[in-house]
Amino acid sequence: MDDTIATIIAAAAPLIYATMGETIAEKAGVINLSLDGSIMLSAMAGFALTYITGSVIVGFLAATAVSAVIAALIAFASIELKLNQIAVGFVLTLLATKLSSFLGTAYVGVKGTHVPHLAIPGLSDMPFVGTVLFNHNLSVYGSYVVLIGTYLFLYRTRRGLELQGIGERPEAAFARGIAVNRLRYIYTVIGGALVGLAGAAYSLDVKFGWRENLTLNFGWIALAIVIFGGWHPVRVAFGCYLFGTLQVVALKLQPVEALQGVSQILPIMPFVLMIFTLLIVYLDWFRRFGDRHPAWRRLLASDPPAGIGRVFERE
């Protein structure tokens, strides 16, 4: 049981990176729809650079840089060229995905370097918690830091409040003397960098190695989880672990005799169930339940940042 939960935590780590990055960008008002492609190209770049240099650190840096550049392109297209974020993000998804196949051919099936494992001294000896949380590869610990850091930054710091302000009502933020578009650039790029970490966490750990379409669909599911989580890091993280659970369950069910007939569709079931959960959460019933029980409202509320996807332009 402990091991299963530990597997779930590890499987969800890349999604934590990606969803936190996307949450930051969307909270600032910019939708980075390129996630699926960004993660894929970062995964390829991270694996390739680690293979070439032998350093996992260089791999992670490369992955970060790739997705940050893609995010910067989206910010530029949206802020300077006033292009539609959805359209630009979609095109970049396709481009990055194909680019990863093209550039990654040489690295398919080669043996690379894995993210090192580290059982945290002391903490990992605790019963249950030690195994579940503190006996992992380094990239998993990074996901904790990013998750907690995102939460604290958004809700406990002045800069985090500003970030929410520029995504919620850019005019009002501008009237308060905040440089809306400059901050949107910064947060979109930071968010993109985190998305890049997700790619490297796949190719150097969770789905170790490189092959074409290694991380296919994980970007889309990350986008869905951000919506499911109502743009709140803790709820978003819950979504990631829920998806991780579904994945591990599907994996465990694969060898079951009785399910051999459906073994083809088992791997995609977590995606389907996750989207289904998302629809359920958005049923009007939940909203009304929240209206009746204010204590639950905070947890169930899922209003998108009001200024999301909207270009801010001063008159």
């Binding site: 002045r158 409040l161 500003e162 929410q164 302000g165 919620e168 009502r169 005019e171 009002a172 933020a173 501008f174 009237a175 308060r176 003397g177 905040i178 440089a179 209003d303 009001a306 001063r314 008159e315």
Partner: protein, 485 residues
């Protein structure tokens, strides 16, 4: 301290919003900026607060020229603006709204500052409540307190009385007088003469992007009207009409829109009658209008139009029965952003033809634009029209033979000329036998145009008045829930 704006120019496309405006205001002065919609008042104030960069012109405070590139510079110079729609973040708490953009301070001290400043002016809000639960008036109060805390010496208020209650308005005016008394510069932007008259010391009048005159108050109203419009506009009253049979009859209806609960309401409006609905915002007027329009289900009672029972009929069926509703949110609920005037007329035509004959449609639209004197072309989109012209378009889309016309704030935000035009249209329809039921917060409008006035208080009919014998003072008290008769 004195503030001077010199020769400000700002154009948007081909429109010269400010065409060489000069304005001078002294410390301790409550200065009114008067002009009809589209005169350039808001643009000028946005320039002063750094929100808009002017094409040319200078701003100086205390004889020092200010370099204003953004609101940040304006705040640093001590200039703060309360926008018409207060720029607060609705999901954030009051305290977070107060803190956002402020110099570093810890939350507890900020909470103390907020309480102290609010208490100074008799405002009160819960610092942890989300701003969306605040009324428009309270959002303004929050913004005022915030701007003062940031060190504003010049406070600009853009049409602040739109959408706030009478109590909040008197609280606001009191606060502004106090601030001016302390030596601040207060600039009060309005198109309402009465407000400028009761509040301000001096007034500057704008017309078509220019300042056309200044006066120290009190001054004859005709002088100001003439400055605003170029000539005195005669405001038409309403001649007593001819009444027909019952047009709309409500019998013991109840409805609940989650904000206001209406109970056991019985009313009759006759053809050719104008019924005014008075009351504080949210006392039941809107609930009643929406229930009559078929946009809100009634839980008890019956609604009849003419002699047809329409209680169980939905909005579209009631439209067919001759009940039309024009909501206060003209652009939000009434018109469609991005669609042109021609397209609006075609949508409202009810025609079932598969293809739209665009050439004819444009010709038809142009005729109707001329007939309803809408300032816009057949290919102007709804959001590009001014508030007055949006209302004209909405009225133009209502067929001439409707039985009941329900209107929510028919002239809110309109200048005198547009308001007068709207009522001219309504009176024509009333004379042709339409029954008009309208909600308004403007006491003069209620008294001038209604035959009878229903005063709502907390979801109930508090009092029914004959408009010809009522006066503003009595009506004001009734709206506040006090029957002094």
């Amino acid at each position: 301290m004195s503030l001077e704006l010199r020769d400000i120019h700002k154009h948007f496309g081909r429109v010269r919003a400010n065409d060489g405006v000069t304005l001078r205001v002294e410390a301790g002065e409550l200065h009114g900026l008067l002009g009809e919609n589209g005169a350039g008042k808001s643009t000028l104030m946005k320039v002063l607060s750094g929100f808009i960069e002017p094409d040319s012109g200078t701003i100086s405070l205390d004889e020092t020229t200010l370099q204003m590139r953004s609101p940040r510079d304006a705040i640093a110079a001590g200039i703060g603006m309360l926008h018409q729609d207060p720029l607060v973040f609705l999901p954030f708490s009051v305290l977070d709204n107060f803190l956002l953009g402020s110099p570093p301070i810890d939350r507890d001290s900020a909470r103390g500052e907020l309480d102290r400043l609010a208490a100074d002016f008799g405002f009160s809000f819960d610092p942890d409540a989300p701003a969306r639960t605040l009324t428009v008036g309270e959002r303004q109060q929050l913004e005022i307190v915030r701007l003062l805390w940031l060190g504003a010496k010049v406070l600009i208020l853009d049409e602040p009385t739109t959408g706030i209650s009478a109590t909040q308005q008197s609280l606001l005016f009191e606060a502004l007088r106090t601030l001016a008394g302390q030596g601040m510069i207060v600039i009060f932007v309005s198109h309402k003469l009465e407000e400028i008259e009761v509040l301000c010391d001096r007034v500057t009048v704008m017309r078509r992007g220019r300042t056309v005159g200044e006066a120290t108050l009190p001054v004859a109203i005709d002088t100001l009207v003439e400055m605003m419009f170029g000539e005195a506009v005669a405001v038409t009253g309403r001649p007593p009409g001819v009444r027909g049979g019952p047009a709309l009859r409500l019998d013991g209806i109840a409805a609940d829109d989650r904000l206001t609960r209406l109970e056991d309401l019985t009313l009759e409006v006759r053809a050719g009658e104008v019924l005014g609905l008075a009351g504080l915002e949210g006392s039941g007027q809107r609930t009643l209008l929406r229930a009559c329009a078929g946009l809100l289900a009634t839980t008890a009672g019956t609604i009849e139009v003419g002699d047809r029972d329409v209680t169980k009929r939905d909005y579209h069926q009631r439209l067919a029965a001759g009940v039309h509703y024009l909501p206060a949110g003209r652009l939000e609920e009434g018109l469609i952003r991005g669609l042109t005037i021609t397209e609006h007329f075609q949508l409202a035509s009810g025609s079932n033809r598969f293809l739209v004959p665009w050439a004819d449609a444009r010709g038809d639209a142009e005729k109707r634009i001329a007939k309803h004197s809408i300032k816009g072309a057949s290919d102007t989109t709804a959001e590009a029209l001014s508030g007055g012209n949006q209302q004209r378009l909405l009225l133009a889309m209502v067929p001439p033979d409707v039985k009941v016309l329900l209107m929510e704030h028919p002239t809110r935000g309109l200048d005198i000329a547009s308001a007068d035009w709207v009522w001219g249209q309504l009176i024509q329809r009333v004379e042709a036998g339409t029954a008009v039921v309208f909600a308004s917060a403007d006491l003069d409008e209620l008294l001038r145009y209604s035959d009878r006035i229903v005063v709502f208080f907390a979801g109930r009919v508090f009092k029914m008045l004959d408009a010809s014998t009522a006066d503003a003072d009595q009506l004001g008290h009734l709206i506040g829930g006090r029957d002094v008769a």
